[in-house]
């Protein structure tokens, strides 16, 4: 219950932000940050708790974005229904890739490579297939109406993505507390030992991948709805595979709040780099890369690990003083 209370508190604080911050630039920054946090939480379920490092989460993000956009533009489906279908589509792609790769017993480097290859295949198909608008991309018509899931105020978009992030936090919390989560962590720590104890590793990983893909797909659906434009480079580009992996690792891999903290940290850092050196191409990504290497080298448990260590030190300090006086 403590975990759920913490989630509620964090979400309540974040929900209050638009009441004080009205600047569109600031809200836009927060929306994009939460979007990346959501995609990262998807990665975290499979990579953080399950230890399966995917380098191709763009496959799910892009599928979510394209399904949402294409259903609306070409088939006149309602935006909310399209959103749900996008999540389902992403989950289906996740289950499909997972079924193929886990059944073939791919782990480690091999798994990273094959997920990367799937994302690339989808990117190439999307860049030539007529249904995706090929090289031109797909543009969703502007229709500022809640029924079309488009809102005049950025604050509403912000609350929508915050709600999605909140759901993803609860999912991560429930997985952490469940028997399924224990199996998943057992597979991460030692797959052969987990199997020997009767854990169906393939099925556990497949389940994690499906949930993981659905969450990252939700971020893709939101992207389409927010920017009203999708093309193959955005939807299936390596940028989102990298951001989805970066945020949980920097924030704290295999923790509920890791992706959210990681997203805030990397986005703030890249904004800071822009302030210092101007908005030059490539610069913010250089910062990402450096932070990634530094976190792995010096804080393998991410910012969450650093915070926990600092908290323990603070909690211990007064007791020591008491002991010294007593």
């Amino acid at each position: 219950m403590k975990g759920l209370a913490a989630i509620a508190a964090v979400v309540a604080v974040l929900a209050a932000v638009p009441l004080f911050v009205q600047s569109n630039i600031a809200l836009n920054f927060l929306v994009v940050t939460l979007l990346v946090a959501l995609a990262g939480q998807g990665w975290n379920i499979l990579g953080g708790y399950g230890g399966q490092y995917s380098f191709g989460h763009a496959a799910f993000f892009g599928t979510g974005a394209y399904v949402t956009a294409i259903l609306q533009v070409r088939y006149g489906v309602n935006a909310w229904a399209g959103f749900a279908a996008g999540i389902a589509g992403g989950a289906a792609v996740g289950a499909f890739i997972g079924a193929l790769t886990f059944r073939a017993g791919l782990r480690g480097s091999y798994f990273a490579l094959v997920t990367l290859a799937f994302a690339e295949v989808l990117r190439i198909i999307a860049s030539v297939a007529p249904i995706t608008g090929a090289g031109v991309g797909t543009l969703i018509k502007l229709d500022l109406h809640p029924a079309a899931m488009q809102f005049e105020s950025r604050a509403v978009f912000y609350w929508v993505i915050l709600a999605l992030v909140a759901v993803s936090l609860v999912i991560a919390h429930l997985i952490e507390r469940s028997r399924f989560g224990a199996w998943l962590i057992a597979v991460r720590e030692n797959e052969d030992a987990a199997k020997a104890l009767g854990v169906n590793a393939t099925r556990v990983k497949l389940g994690a991948m499906t949930v993981s893909a659905a969450i990252t797909a939700a971020a893709g659906c939101f992207y389409a709805q927010y920017f009203l434009f999708v093309d193959s480079g955005i939807a299936y580009g390596t940028w989102i595979s990298v951001e989805a992996l970066l945020t949980p690792i920097i924030g704290g891999v295999g923790t509920v709040f890791g992706p959210l903290i990681g997203a805030l940290a990397v986005k703030a850092l890249s904004e800071g780099a822009k302030l210092v050196a101007g908005d030059a191409p490539g610069l913010s990504l250089v910062v990402y890369g450096c932070v990634l290497v530094f976190v792995i080298a010096f804080a393998p448990r991410g910012f969450v690990g650093l915070l926990a260590a600092a908290y323990r030190r603070l909690a211990r300090a007064p007791k020591k003083r008491e002991a010294a006086h007593g």
């Binding site: 094959v114 290859a117 295949v121 890369g289 990634l292 792995i296």
Partner: protein, 290 residues
């Protein structure tokens, strides 16, 4: 379309391109064979080497084929230092961390290049860039024929290093049995770094072979490295002959699928082979065990 007049040059050109792919893949497979990690920084290092070859020509007037003799040792040193000072210490000996550190390095290198040189595509003009040799049945570009020969020369040198030198023996020992090699007094960190250096030197030579007929921009290496991953997987991770044969096969497949499916869809052939091989036979055609 199937007439031999088109088909034979397409296959031969595929073989020539494939040889350079094979050299990139050779570096990758060498590193995998010893360190058991996929070096995700390989493509970014190739981009960096292409820039180095470009500026060696533009600023120093150095012919790319001569530049290879300068760039190979320089990139060997860069590779050595990266493994010894960054990848090794930062990853604490964990494979998953190594993957991420090389990914981080690739992001840093690629975007530092983007920051320094912008996204512009550059080429160099050489008098012999468009020269061809007539083999009777096909005209082939001279630089690519040279490239083909150099790749096999490099492979031979690598084979000799691995077979006859002390460091080659140490590398093979570490690849086979890391702990045992360590107990026998081999400095594993040094061997890892030497291997990484050799792999990076391969990339530098590949860059010098590519630059006469190819272009350079900060993300140019990505395309090559995905192909190199495919070759390495196809030939069996860690297998040197596998990388050579795999490179040639992939060169021909790319050339033919480009001919039949068009430029952008042609790439799909490679990835489908890649996924199929990974799923059906992850040890590759020549690999002993995963």
């Amino acid at each position: 379309m199937l007439s031999p007049v088109i088909l034979i040059p397409a296959i031969l050109n595929g073989l020539l391109t494939g040889a350079v792919y094979a050299l990139v893949a050779l570096g990758l497979t060498l590193i995998y064979g010893v360190l058991h990690i996929i070096n995700f920084a390989h493509g970014a290092l190739l981009s960096a080497a292409l820039f180095a070859a470009f500026f060696a020509f533009r600023l120093l007037g150095l012919d790319p084929y001569l530049a290879a003799f300068l760039l190979a040792p320089v990139f060997f040193a860069i590779g050595y230092a990266l493994q010894r000072l960054v990848i090794g210490p930062a990853s604490h000996g964990d494979d998953r961390n190594m993957l991420l550190v090389t990914l981080g390095l690739s992001i840093i290198v690629e975007n530092a290049l983007l920051f320094a040189f912008r996204a512009d595509t550059r080429t160099i003009d050489l008098p012999y860039a468009f020269a061809t040799v007539d083999f009777g049945f096909a005209f082939l570009a001279v630089p690519r024929v040279i490239g083909f020969a150099v790749v096999f020369a490099v492979a031979l040198v690598l084979w000799a290093i691995m077979r006859f030198t002390d460091i080659g023996k140490a590398i093979r020992a570490v690849a086979k049995e890391k702990l045992g090699a360590e107990l026998a007094g081999i400095d594993v960190a040094h061997v890892y770094a030497m291997t990484f250096g050799l792999g990076t030197a391969c990339v530098a030579i590949a860059a010098c072979l590519l630059i006469p007929t190819y272009y350079v921009n900060p993300s140019v290496g990505d395309g090559f490295v995905l192909i190199a991953f495919t070759i390495v997987v196809l030939g069996g991770m860690g297998s040197v002959p596998g990388a050579l044969i795999g490179g040639l096969v992939i060169g021909v497949v790319e050339s033919l699928s480009g001919l039949f499916l068009g430029e952008s869809l042609g790439q799909i052939g490679i990835f489908l082979i890649f996924i199929a091989v990974l799923l059906a036979r992850p040890t590759g055609l020549f690999g002993a065990k995963a």
